[in-house]
């Protein structure tokens, strides 16, 4: 069954198209990564899914229903971002108890254990936490709620690398015990790619790619070698990124539509063939210029 179905979804703020003609489906019980540049429309899309915003045109269905102002959808969904507002007069443990009553699958013991593990004092107040600790606390709520649809919008803001790693692991462990649909938006694709089943890449409010992560890893290859040889083997439409390395050598990232023979031949001609890291690939795919920031400086 589809958990989320979007058809030609658009959302416009003051004539700016935040989400434009987006159609996709997200299957149940998968972890989907939502990736895109700043301002690509990730948060807007997630808020449309959560039913906070009304689509300008198009349709969005969550659990087969329109999520906007829908109590049944709200009861099965949790949305965690760094804007979470909590009662100021409650301590962390009181907050957990107050929030927990909303969710039938709430894991009080797990929440308490995570609180302890991440060195958050139960008697502390949310307002006095550092940015990273606030994010940790929000994420504890997100995991312990065990909602059929869990949305994390940039949940790791301010966390240090060690805490982030622990959280990815905590999320994965809990997911394996109780599979559910999770959408995870993050700029740190290299860190979360181990978690993900699928990746949804959006660019300027439009869907650019939606595919399983295994396919993404083989989506492109990096070619390093003499420019003339590499140019000959790649068509213009294939090129995703290029960077001059010297007078006549080049590093070029191209769509992986080569057959084995072509690659073998290239290798014999001294071309180095390397896999492309998924986060680099996403940067190339969403870039406006094929030369990256170098384009700006090489204009003169």
């Amino acid at each position: 069954m589809h958990c989320i179905e979007s058809k030609n979804l658009s959302k416009t703020f003051d004539k700016i198209k935040a989400v434009h003609d987006l159609s996709f489906t997200i299957e149940e019980n998968k972890i989907t990564g939502l990736v895109g540049r700043n301002g690509a429309g990730k948060t807007t899309l997630l808020k449309l899914i959560a039913g906070y915003l009304l689509p300008t045109t198009g349709e969005i269905n969550v659990f087969g229903r329109n999520p906007f102002n829908n109590l049944q959808v709200a009861a099965n969904l949790i949305f965690i971002d760094d804007q979470l507002a909590l009662p100021e007069n409650l301590s962390l443990e009181e907050t957990l108890a107050a929030v927990g009553q909303f969710y039938p699958n709430w894991q009080a013991e797990l929440a308490r254990a995570l609180l302890d593990y991440f060195s958050l004092q139960p008697r502390q107040y949310y307002a006095n936490l550092s940015k990273g600790m606030k994010s940790s606390f929000n994420m504890i709520i997100g995991i312990a709620a065990r909602c059929p649809l869990t949305i994390f919008d940039e949940p790791t803001v301010g966390m240090d690398a060690a805490v982030r790693k622990d959280f990815y692991r905590a999320l994965l462990k809990d997911f394996m015990q109780y599979p559910r649909t999770i959408i995870f938006s993050s700029h740190l694709l290299s860190e979360i790619e181990e978690l993900l089943d699928d990746l949804l890449l959006i660019k300027a409010g439009e869907k650019y790619l939606h595919l399983p992560l295994d396919e993404l890893r083989n989506y492109a290859v990096g070619l390093t070698g003499r420019e003339s040889i590499i140019r000959k083997m790649t068509g213009q439409e294939q090129v995703l990124f290029q960077q001059k390395l010297g007078r006549d050598s080049i590093y070029l990232v191209a769509r992986n539509t080569f057959d084995q023979q072509t690659l073998q031949q290239a290798r014999l001609q001294g071309v180095e063939i390397s896999p492309v890291a998924t986060d680099d690939l996403c940067i190339y795919l969403t870039a406006q210029h094929k030369g990256g920031i170098d384009d700006v400086f090489s204009r003169n």
Binding site: Y52, L53, N76, L84, P87, C147, R180
Partner: protein
């Protein structure tokens, strides 16, 4: 594997109400402070006059608990306004929809109005006790209060508190939807107060509105007027916020 969990409006509203109570316990302290302040101000008297001949001067001071009631009603309005802001800011992070949020706010305001109305009336009793022991009284007229009258006083104050907090909530919700209304509504309100000082048609209408709510002698009719007004305010808010986007 997670399964879809069906819920209903009543249970969500109940949870939301409890959540609101937990989040807003602090306002009870503000109620106590306001009423204590009003009590202290009341002991000074609401009006005084002096009558004198060459030989004697009589200073007449009238003391009443009205200030306590007025302060409490202002508090009720502010609580209504803040509840709207808090609902908009806090409610939509966890399970809610617009309707359940408004209903839970309504229940919360009903409870605060109940507390405010009763405590305000009993503060009036406390004032009388204080006066009896501390002041030289010319007359004890109105010093004692029949229990029935006390009950009636509480009841009426509770209803006024309900009206004021519903108005505050209404204003707060309008303000959430459109910031311009935060300025526009007070301007219109105070403008009409000034207009009421002159004898125009608008002024007469305004006075009629005041008479409608504040000069009703039948308790049953008064109850009906307040309940209908509050219901009307809430229905308007519910319809008004039904398509409202949140967490923008």
């Amino acid at each position: 594997m997670m399964s879809f969990h069906e819920t209903n409006l009543l249970s969500v509203t109940k949870k939301q109400f409890i959540y609101k109570l937990q989040a807003n316990l602090g306002i009870l302290i503000s109620l106590m402070i306001i009423q204590l302040l009003a009590l202290l101000l009341s002991t000074a008297g609401v009006s005084s006059m002096s009558v004198g001949t060459n030989l004697t001067i009589i200073n007449l001071k009238i003391i009443s608990g009205d200030i306590i009631i007025v302060f409490t009603l202002i508090w009720a309005f502010i609580v209504g306004y803040n509840t709207a802001g808090n609902a908009y800011r806090l409610d939509y992070h966890f399970v809610t929809n617009r309707l359940s949020s408004n209903l839970a706010s309504g229940c919360f305001l009903l409870l605060t109005s109940l507390l405010a109305g009763i405590t305000a009336t009993f503060c009036g009793v406390l004032l009388r006790v204080l006066l009896y022991f501390w002041r030289d009284l010319l007359t004890t007229k109105g010093l004692s209060m029949a229990p029935a009258l006390l009950m009636k006083g509480s009841y009426v104050t509770v209803l006024y508190a309900c009206l004021l907090s519903a108005l505050g909530y209404f204003y707060g919700m309008l303000a959430q939807r459109n910031k311009a209304l935060t300025v526009l509504i007070p301007v219109l309100f105070f403008g009409s107060l000034f207009a009421a000082a002159k004898d125009t048609r608008a002024a007469q209408l305004f006075r009629q509105v005041l008479v409608f709510y504040f000069s009703e002698s039948s308790l049953a009719l008064f109850t009906l007027k307040i309940v209908l007004t509050v219901a009307l305010l809430f229905i308007t808010i519910i319809l008004f916020t039904n398509r409202m986007e949140v967490r923008k």
